[in-house]
């Protein structure tokens, strides 16, 4: 019988020496330097003109959307927003390397992946304005998107919970024989949660075709990554759990795209998890409730601004002769107008009618919820002016 525990064959040593952190350092794949030049043409992924342009416009669109929505929050039109400025290459580049049937389970800063899948400006707006066209029916804060048709799992706020779930979802895909994988995004902060350790270990042991994509962007709210972990980042943990791992420059679309393509191939062919650690930087505030000037310097931000992923990729496009300044400007102009129009439209759409409040708690509302709804409606009918969002539409 084969020995089940391969550690029983471990090589012996007679030297009392500890393996130190720093002995093994995982390098970072970079295929595009800061001037948009390819560093190794042989390893550069094949990206056709259409895909390349779609990546570029999606990144620019998302940056516009972020700017506009941060503004809308400041004007009090929405309650909350969370920008991904600086990290566009990580999420858009990785989404571009997937098949549309692959499931995306994201944290909350991955609007780029969703936009790449084709989520429309109206859809973004309806969710953010919590109106009755929001597929979440106005139950979650702005930015908690989800779309079944686009294979984008609805976002949940508690951090890290999607990591173990992604392992399970991917196992389901494998068992059903679907030619698809799951990608799971999370931050380096969320990688401290128990769910990270549980999820990556489960995926490794149960051979789940899942891509764990960590956006290591330097901060978890105000906590810098030095206070989040010791050791060689999140990538080394992948190795520790027996998971194939790659670290990439998260501001380099080519590197992110190439790594994700490869990860997908391996996950699918070998039924195993792959971990990608994308080294990037959160140029935006953590969210509209945050003020980063309290915990990091402007010069640090400027250093990263110089590594702007959008500019870097556009320089590459330009080198290929694929960058059309006029067309880009026209696209941006059109998107700006579209975003503003959609915003104005969505803020006028009413919230869901009050009957909705007891829906989706269970498959059908049990007696106690039905009773509570009857009481609530009678109460609203008595004080209609106090519940203006719903009182006009009582059924």
């Amino acid at each position: 019988m084969q020995d089940r525990n391969h550690l029983s064959d471990v090589q012996a040593t007679n030297s009392v020496s500890l393996i130190e952190n720093g002995l093994v350092e995982i390098p970072m794949l970079q295929l595009l330097d800061e001037n948009g030049h390819e560093t190794n043409k042989e390893q550069s992924p094949e990206i056709n003109e259409t895909t390349a342009k779609r990546i570029s416009t999606t990144m620019q669109y998302i940056r516009l959307l972020d700017e506009r929505m941060v503004g809308a929050q400041r004007q009090g039109r929405i309650s909350f927003y969370l920008a991904c400025t600086g990290e566009e290459a990580s999420t858009v580049g990785s989404a571009a390397a997937l098949s549309e049937n692959d499931m995306i389970m994201s944290q909350y800063r991955e609007q780029g992946a969703l936009a790449y899948r084709g989520y429309t400006t109206d859809q973004f707006m309806n969710q953010m304005f919590s109106n009755q066209l929001d597929p979440n029916k106005g139950r979650q804060m702005p930015i908690h998107y989800g779309d079944k048709k686009l294979n984008f799992m609805t976002i949940s706020s508690p951090l890290g919970t999607q990591i173990s779930q992604a392992a399970g979802y991917a196992y389901g895909q494998k068992m059903a024989g679907e030619p698809a994988v799951t990608i799971c995004y999370f931050g380096e902060g969320a990688a401290s949660e128990g769910d990270f350790h549980a999820g990556v270990n489960m995926a490794a042991v149960l051979n789940c075709p899942v891509i764990f994509f960590c956006r290591n962007n330097g901060y978890a709210i105000s906590t810098p990554s030095e206070e989040q972990f010791k050791g060689d980042g999140i990538a080394s943990r992948g190795i520790g759990y027996g998971v194939k791992t790659i670290r990439v420059d998260g501001n380099d679309v080519l590197a992110v795209y190439a790594a994700t393509k490869k990860a997908r191939e391996i996950a699918l062919a070998e039924n195993c998890p792959v971990l990608i650690e994308a080294m990037t930087y959160r140029l935006a505030a953590h969210s509209t409730s945050d003020d980063p000037s309290g915990y990091r310097s402007k010069s640090e931000e400027d250093k990263w601004r110089a590594k702007d992923p959008i500019e870097r990729f556009n320089k590459w496009l330009d080198g290929k002769g694929w960058f059309d300044k006029k067309a880009t400007d026209a696209f941006l102009e059109k998107s700006r107008a579209e975003i503003l129009a959609a915003l104005k439209k969505a803020e006028k759409v009413p919230v869901a009618p009050i009957e909705d409040i007891v829906e989706d708690v269970y498959d059908t509302p049990p007696w106690h919820l039905k009773e509570q709804l009857v009481e609530l409606k009678a109460h609203i009918a008595k004080y209609p002016e106090h519940y203006p969002k719903t009182s006009g539409r009582l059924k």
């Binding site: 309650s79 909350f80 919590s130 109106n131 029916k137 106005g138 139950r139 979650q140 804060m141 908690h144 949940s156 706020s157 508690p158 951090l159 890290g160 902060g189 969320a190 401290s192 949660e193 128990g194 769910d195 978890a220 709210i221 105000s222 906590t223 206070e227 989040q228 972990f229 409730s289 945050d290 309290g294 915990y295 919230v351 869901a352 009050i354 909705d356 409040i357 007891v358 708690v361 106690h368 919820l369 509570q372 609530l376 109460h379 609203i380 008595k382 004080y383 106090h386 519940y387 969002k389 719903t390």
Partner: protein
């Protein structure tokens, strides 16, 4: 005395506790240099150093497990869980460990010095992951105390008492009131007793009971009821566990009626426990069934937050129903 908001009062309590006892340590996500996402721990790191006020990695189970170990050593941890909605990853550590450490070791070891601070509650357009009121889950575990202040003066006095109490305490802060509740707070070191309710207003016809941010709501309903000639006694429970059964029952025996208001869902909420106990002890004094005005049995919504909330109007209607029974 100084004018402070609830956050400043909590900060003042932490400064007092850390100054007076060097074993007090304050930690959690973002609590270090930044002072926490709500700024309750502002300047503590500057004052007391990184050894005693620090950021932790982003892991609630880690924070409470760590705090349990630290407390069992005899240090005095004050751990922050950034939002009470995110206390659940630490549920195992709290329920199975914090609360039972003393019991399972025959009193040899304890986590009695631990205080867990966490903002809770709605009314801030936070949707269901920034609005929950999970006190009832923890009230079901023997071995913990649960405290909820409603104003700055209480917050400081109760937090100091919690930190110094020889039992683990879950200290829940109504985040809706963090900046909204402002009042006089003694700059001195003082404690308010745990397990005691606060009689906010005397009355003769009905007892209204709430805690945290909901006290304001029942006060508002009481004012409406006074206008139609109903005299309300208003009580802030302050401590969910152990709760002040004496004060409540005394009041109910006087007024003959009880209404309990809380933000958490009705079913299995702490009002159920109070109602059961009061009917057992005051049955013959009751003139009408005990009323509960609570959140609906749904997750906490966003767009329908106003409708969901057990607000002053729902409370006022329930007062009338109880009076007319």
């Amino acid at each position: 005395m100084a004018q402070m908001n609830l956050l400043q009062a909590i900060n003042s309590a932490l400064v007092t506790a850390m100054t007076e006892d060097e074993k007090v340590m304050v930690f959690g996500e973002d609590v270090g240099h930044f002072g926490g996402v709500f700024r309750a721990t502002s300047n503590l790191q500057q004052k007391f150093g990184k050894g005693r006020c620090f950021n932790t990695p982003l892991t609630e189970q880690g924070i409470i497990g760590f705090a349990n170990g630290l407390a069992s050593h005899g240090s005095v941890p004050v751990a922050e869980i950034q939002f009470s909605d995110y206390i659940f990853p630490a549920f195992d550590q709290i329920v199975n460990e914090t609360a039972k450490w003393r019991y399972r070791s025959g009193g040899q070891f304890t986590c009695g010095t631990l205080t867990i601070r966490t903002p809770y509650g709605g009314g801030i357009a936070g949707g269901h992951y920034h609005s929950q009121s999970p006190e009832a889950f923890f009230a079901h575990i023997p071995g913990m105390k649960i405290v909820i202040p409603r104003n700055p003066k209480q917050a400081k006095g109760l937090l100091l008492a919690s930190i110094r109490d020889d039992n683990p305490v879950l200290f829940m802060e109504p985040k809706k009131l963090y900046r909204a509740a402002v009042g006089d707070v003694p700059e001195t070191d003082y404690e308010l007793p745990l397990g005691k309710a606060d009689l906010v207003k005397e009355g003769t016809d009905i007892t209204l009971l709430a805690w945290g941010a909901q006290v304001e709501i029942i006060e508002k309903a009481a004012a409406m009821a006074e206008e139609i000639g109903v005299s309300c006694e208003v009580i802030d429970l302050q401590s969910i566990l152990p709760w002040d059964v004496e004060t409540i029952c005394e009041s109910v025996c006087k007024t003959g009626r009880l209404l309990i208001n809380h933000e958490a869902p009705l079913t299995g909420g702490f009002a159920s426990e109070i109602a059961a106990t009061v009917q057992e002890r005051c049955f013959l004094y009751l003139e009408s069934p005990i009323a509960r005005v609570c959140g609906l049995d749904t997750p906490y919504p966003l767009a329908h937050e106003k409708e969901y909330m057990p607000d002053h109007l729902k409370t006022f209607e329930a007062i009338k129903r109880t009076m007319d029974y």
